[in-house]
């Protein structure tokens, strides 16, 4: 349903994303990995409209997103979280989520029931009236996910959701994301450096290096790919799930 064709982006001399094509399917969890600076976040920025691509096309359910503002894309159902937290510190948890809910309502999608349930699943219910800046880091990461869910998204992109989480937290996050998958049929795109987490969560994985796709496939295929081992995984590591 979300389709990228030949997407490219450069900053001055740096070609951050080059000629990336990929397709995200409804109900599927898609992983995106690659070394630091590979262009993963940039790709998410291009899809969510925070950056405009210099070449290529982007379609959602066959409808072109090119030239559409970030806000419009969010209305169309493209949701994301950020690698560096971008919650609204002076608003309460509930208001943080409301911002997204208003957008969904405007677009004629409602996710109130899902959000209410997600608050519980992501263990935020007890904090709904706290200001966001009073929350702990892990809670803020979860808040970002719930806030994105409140857009009732068609595509949900998570930029390093497990960063800074310990083993148990990461596992809990994985469970919660699996729950999300059961509740909606949105397409999930997950970036993370925690390979165990990615490998167990995703059905397909795309590997970026220096802005370009160097491999695409199931976790097993990817982890056995020679190029991927060279560029990212490194020799002698067995990361297959």
């Amino acid at each position: 349903m979300l389709e990228l064709k030949g997407l490219s982006k450069s900053f001055g001399g740096v070609q951050a994303v080059r000629d990336v094509s990929m397709r995200l399917a409804a109900g599927q969890v898609h992983g995106l990995i690659g070394p630091n600076g590979a262009g993963k976040s940039t790709l998410v920025n291009l899809i969510s409209g925070l950056l405009s691509h210099s070449a290529g096309t982007l379609t959602l359910d066959g409808r072109s997103l090119d030239g559409m503002s970030a806000a419009r894309r969010a209305e169309c159902g493209i949701a994301r979280t950020f690698q560096n937290l971008r919650v609204f510190p002076a608003l309460t948890v509930e208001q943080n989520i409301d911002v997204a809910r208003y957008t969904a309502a405007r677009a004629g999608r409602g996710a109130d029931a899902l959000v209410a349930e997600a608050m519980v699943q992501f263990d935020l219910d007890s904090r709904r009236n706290s200001r966001a800046d009073a929350l702990a880091y892990g809670q803020l990461r979860r808040l970002e996910i719930v806030r994105a869910l409140a857009l009732a998204p068609r595509v949900l992109m998570l930029d390093e959701p497990a960063a800074g989480m310990n083993e148990q937290e990461t596992q809990a996050l994985g469970r919660a994301l699996n729950w999300v998958r059961g509740q909606t049929d949105c397409a999930l795109l997950v970036i993370d450096h925690d390979l165990k987490f990615i490998m167990s969560l995703c059905e397909r994985i795309t590997v970026l290096n220096m802005g370009a796709v160097i491999a695409e496939g199931t976790p097993r295929e990817v982890s056995e790919n020679r190029q991927v081992i060279d560029a990212y995984l490194g020799e002698g590591n067995d990361h297959a799930a």
């Binding site: 070394p35 630091n36 600076g37 800046d133 009073a134 702990a136 880091y137 960063a163 800074g164 989480m165 310990n166 083993e167 450096h193 925690d194 002698g236 590591n237 067995d238």
Partner: protein
């Protein structure tokens, strides 16, 4: 030389490091290892005084708590920070001159020496540092830190985002420094390499020290180590 006791580090209301104790002896190279977000950078920030922290940070036996950043650095610390943070709008040689601010005498010779060590930096001496490649920037950051002839060098992920060839070069350089007797506190994700260089290492996870030991013992025995750093 550096004794850190019961250190807790805060970012705003968030406690990122929950009471760790470790030490670096003169002439040693000590590593702090751990996964993303373990609190390694936070620990260094607490030592330099950038981050708010409680506990004691004793350098040469006196607590540096309460001292402003620059006073700490002037006692003989130098850092090559995470993300390199070269002065992007200054040229390479200006970066080095600023690095020598605490020890201006004889800086010209030292700059020349660094240009010998990293000829590529010499070639780019009048180029703005912001236009250097990541690897070049990393070399510059380390050279800049060493321009002040510190008594202890803090290195935060010197291999981050670098091509393997450059990584090898950087590690070789750290090796040389160690042999010359420089005291080093090294933060790394690349545990295998780091352990090879270190006299002693601490493994951090989630703001706590979960294992410690000499490079040999840690590297081989610990299951936790395997889990957190991928060393098998």
């Amino acid at each position: 030389m550096l004794n850190v006791t019961d250190l807790r580090v805060y970012h705003g209301p968030i406690e990122a490091v929950h009471g760790i104790t470790f030490q670096v002896k003169p002439g040693q190279c000590v590593s702090l290892l751990g996964p993303n977000g373990a609190g390694k950078t936070s620990t260094l920030s607490a030592i330099t005084g950038i981050a708010r922290a409680t506990g004691t940070i004793a350098f040469d036996g006196t607590d540096m708590g309460g001292l402003p950043v620059e006073a700490r650095m002037r006692r003989g610390l130098a850092i090559s920070p995470e993300g390199r943070r070269v002065f992007a709008n200054l040229t390479v040689s200006e970066n080095l001159r600023l690095g020598a601010a605490m020890r201006p005498e004889g800086q010209a010779e030292r700059i020349a020496r660094w240009f010998d060590t990293f000829p590529i930096l010499g070639e780019r001496r009048d180029q703005q540092a912001g236009t250097l490649s990541g690897g070049e920037q990393q070399m510059l950051a380390i050279a800049r830190a060493l321009m002040s002839e510190p008594r202890i060098l803090l290195l935060d992920e010197p291999s981050l985002g670098l091509a393997p060839r450059i990584v090898a070069q950087i590690f070789a350089m750290i090796e040389t420094l160690r042999q010359q007797g420089m005291t080093i506190l090294l933060v790394e994700q690349n545990a295998t390499q780091a352990l090879r260089l270190s006299d002693y290492a601490y493994l951090l996870n989630n703001g706590r020290i979960v294992a410690e030991g000499t490079a040999g013992t840690l590297g081989q025995s610990d299951a936790l180590m395997a889990e957190l750093t991928g060393i098998g």
